[in-house]
Symmetry: C2
């Protein structure tokens, strides 16, 4: 099933981030059946507070697409997006978001808050959580265990 | 007074954005009395959904500072930040935000919602709105009038 396929790619990007010392989160942007971007969290390496996987992937995808508006696109991300990233997904006019593990402490697509729709904002996200959630959660757990 | 000085610089960056066909919003990041970054909104030119003035400025500032954590920094922005940017200011551990004009339709630091503090998030923003608000509002009004 294609959703699992794309999420598996996001998980591979997350695993790559972990090997580089980054919190393992990965994201894939798909539009019209093509992968426009695959990215992992690169906050430490890039010394960029905004370099969460979703933001890096959206920037790459928009550059490739030639327009910052990614209407009709789908984003696969291994961890529930934070408020910044949920805001970016709205700004980029992403249609659908599939995420893996929920983030009770920081998730903005249902856990901590729900930013899939913001009153007054002219766009809303269609959100599906829990796709390959066990694999994403396991990656994160292993990473944080390795830090101790 | 230094706050007005920094906001005047942000307004100059916003005016530059307007001349480039971008919605005029500008931002300045100050840390330890030094300007780390000055940036204007560049979403259209960069074809980047995340290239709001605040995000561009935070990325530059962190790169220059050598750490994505901008503890103790102050950000001056001509328009009240949107949810994505408010989230980014939190992620970057910015201490204080001064903004100019309020944004009743999209502002996330008091208007549409208040993201200066998010339950469960380990950081909060100190927010001051209305600094040189008239000038920022006038810039935006002129820009949107020129589009018609």
């Amino acid at each position: 099933m294609k959703h699992k396929y794309y999420m598996a790619i996001a998980l591979a990007a997350a695993a790559r981030s972990a090997r580089q010392g980054e919190t393992p989160v990965g994201a894939v942007v798909v539009k019209d059946g093509s992968i426009l971007a695959v990215a992992g969290n690169s906050r430490e390496q890039d010394k960029d507070p905004t370099a969460h996987a979703e933001i890096v992937a959206l920037r790459q995808a928009a550059k490739r697409w030639g327009d910052w508006r990614l209407y009709g696109s789908t984003v696969y991300v291994t961890l529930e997006p934070c408020p910044m990233c949920a805001g970016a997904l709205l700004q980029a006019r992403v249609k659908t978001v599939y995420y893996g593990a929920s983030d009770p402490k920081g998730g903005a697509l249902g856990s901590l808050m729900d930013m899939s729709f913001i009153q007054g904002f002219n766009h809303r996200l269609e959100v599906h959580g829990g796709l390959l959630a066990d694999k994403a959660a396991k990656q994160l757990k292993q990473f944080f265990r390795s830090l101790r």
